[in-house]
Amino acid sequence: MSAVGFAIMFWLGAWALNTWLANSRWRGTRTVRIFVPALFGIALLVVWEDSVRGFDVSPVILPAPSVVAQTFVASLDILWIDFVQTVIKGAISGFAIGVTAGILCAIAIDRSGFLTQGLLPIGNFFAALPIVGVAPIMVNWFGFDWHSKAAVVVVMVFFPILVNTVAGLRAADALQRDLMRTYAAGYLQTLFKLRLPAAMPFIFNGLKIVTTLALIGAIVAEYFGSPTRGMGFRISTGVGSLSIDLVWAEIAVAALAGTAFYGLVALLEKRVTFWHPSQRQ
């Protein structure tokens, strides 16, 4: 039980330190802004580790983080194969296709007010639907390999991007468009120099929503049939064969991949939309 006692002490100590830091005069500095949430995360891990040890939880139910870390390091090769299969082949390729298709479609329907009025509510409706359900249909159409996973991702990604891009293309106001007209700019020039850049904050908003959806789609589709690799495959077989530590290692990979993917998009957003008020310091 002393482990649990230590966990509680550590938690209280970390919280006290965080409280002090958050109210100290260094609270605005970058170091503190990273240190405080990091300490919170470490405290959570310590509580997890010590509760598993203290209450003697069977590793079949919940392995300690240290055990998961050991498994992670020991099975790097398997994790890498699964990562390539699910994230790179399934999620990223589907993401690229879906995003491209969504943006192109939005530009196309934006030319017609009638189409925009018709498609926007429908697109909004589709964006709220549980589209993951099409996973078995896509596996049926495109086979077990990564193509079906990419197809699910394309369908999931398409509508949020479409809706956000259409909204973004309307963001440039009449005054700015008139200015372009006085420059005698054509449709394409206006599109590339004014309207697409003005739409970027909206497009990135959609991209950020969609990064997680892409991973969810790729993993769920693997539950419906996959070659003998992939994160979804490993998780569903791992649960069945009680190798829970490997499942948690896969979850860690999924978490890292998801966070990195999101971070990449956020970084790109900062670069592309540096002019937007929300990005200014």
Binding site: A22, F114, L115, G118, V132, I219, G232
Partner: protein, 318 residues
């Protein structure tokens, strides 16, 4: 003439025409999607089809097959196990498993989609309630405590970049090990996980919406913290709350269905999709998908109505 037509009718015209076009594309797409299955079936029934044997046909494009066997195309519109069912087939299946069964008084039979939609709806609402409460409590903590803001907010964002489906089987194993037999609990946890974030973000924005001068005014009235929360911050956050509730309920439904898919659940719309996949009955999958879409539509429009009602009661313009 056009002035006599109310605005909402005029806004329906483009939506309906786009829907018609989408339906037409769907109908046309059925022919190439189903031609192979139709040819296999026709061949088994003894008809003469141009390249014989489905193995030979695998290498020939669907367009070529349709040109060579124009008589079989119509067969693709009436298959028991189509690759792509027609809208009419999906509609029939949907009616057969909802309206028709309800009229026979068997709405709660295990084969009725109403029963499965009800199971899914229950978990969704539990998850929604749990997620919304967590989101609101978290938002209050973040708005009132700087340390909570600094420690919780980054993790809330990170939590949404973790694909929850990876955790779904684990949540089910864990809750069954902890002696929770009900399958509803893990589903509700997953849907709460997806649903709390939009509520949290929306509420943080909403609770911070009153500006300094309004907060100062309440201070001059000698209002307590609780009073300024109840009379200023909470009402100011309501529009934000409803907007994020609409996102949240859709996310909660996605969460429930995701929770039903990989877990071997036996009831619920996600389970219907899973069972339809295992037994090779695509019509059941499509009907369950459409039922889920209808459910999502109903839930979101319900909240939309509530939002309008609340806004009117509070004297806000919609």
């Amino acid at each position: 003439m056009t002035k006599a037509v109310p605005a909402w009718v005029r806004s329906l015209i483009p939506i309906l025409s786009v829907l018609m076009v989408l339906l037409a594309i769907w109908y046309v797409a059925v022919a190439p999607m189903n031609i192979r299955v139709a040819l296999d079936q026709a061949e088994r029934a003894g008809e003469v089809v141009v390249p014989e044997g489905s193995v030979v046909r695998r290498d020939i494009s669907v367009w070529r097959l349709m040109l060579d066997n124009p008589g079989v195309i119509s067969g693709g519109y009436d298959l028991d196990r189509p690759r792509l069912p027609t809208p009419a087939q999906v509609g029939q299946e949907l009616w057969k498993t909802t309206g028709e069964m309800a009229m026979k008084g068997r709405a709660w039979s295990k084969r009725s989609l109403i029963y499965h939609a009800w199971i899914t709806l229950q978990s969704t609402l539990w998850g929604f309630a749990l997620g919304t409460s967590l989101g609101i409590i978290g938002a209050i903590a973040i708005v009132y405590s700087r340390v909570a803001d600094m420690s919780l907010m980054p993790w809330a964002i990170i939590s949404q970049t973790i694909p929850i489906v990876a955790l779904a089987p684990m949540i089910i194993v864990l809750s069954s090990q902890m002696g929770i037999d009900s399958r509803g609990v893990p589903k509700a946890i997953i849907s709460a996980y997806l649903c709390y974030f939009p509520v949290l973000v929306g509420m943080v924005k909403g609770l911070r919406a009153p500006d300094i001068s309004q907060l100062d005014l309440l201070k001059t009235y000698d209002a307590t913290g609780l009073q300024s929360f109840l009379k200023l911050r909470l009402p100011a956050s309501l529009p934000y709350l409803f907007t994020s509730l609409k996102v949240g309920i859709a996310a909660a439904l996605v969460g429930t269905i995701v929770g039903e898919l990989p877990t071997g659940a036996i009831s619920g719309l996600g389970a219907r999709i899973l069972i339809g996949d295992q037994f090779g009955t695509p019509l059941a999958i499509w009907a369950a998908l459409f039922m889920a879409a209808i459910l999502a539509g109903l839930l979101v429009s319900l909240l939309d109505g509530l939002q309008r009602f609340a806004a009117r009661r509070m004297g806000l313009k919609t």
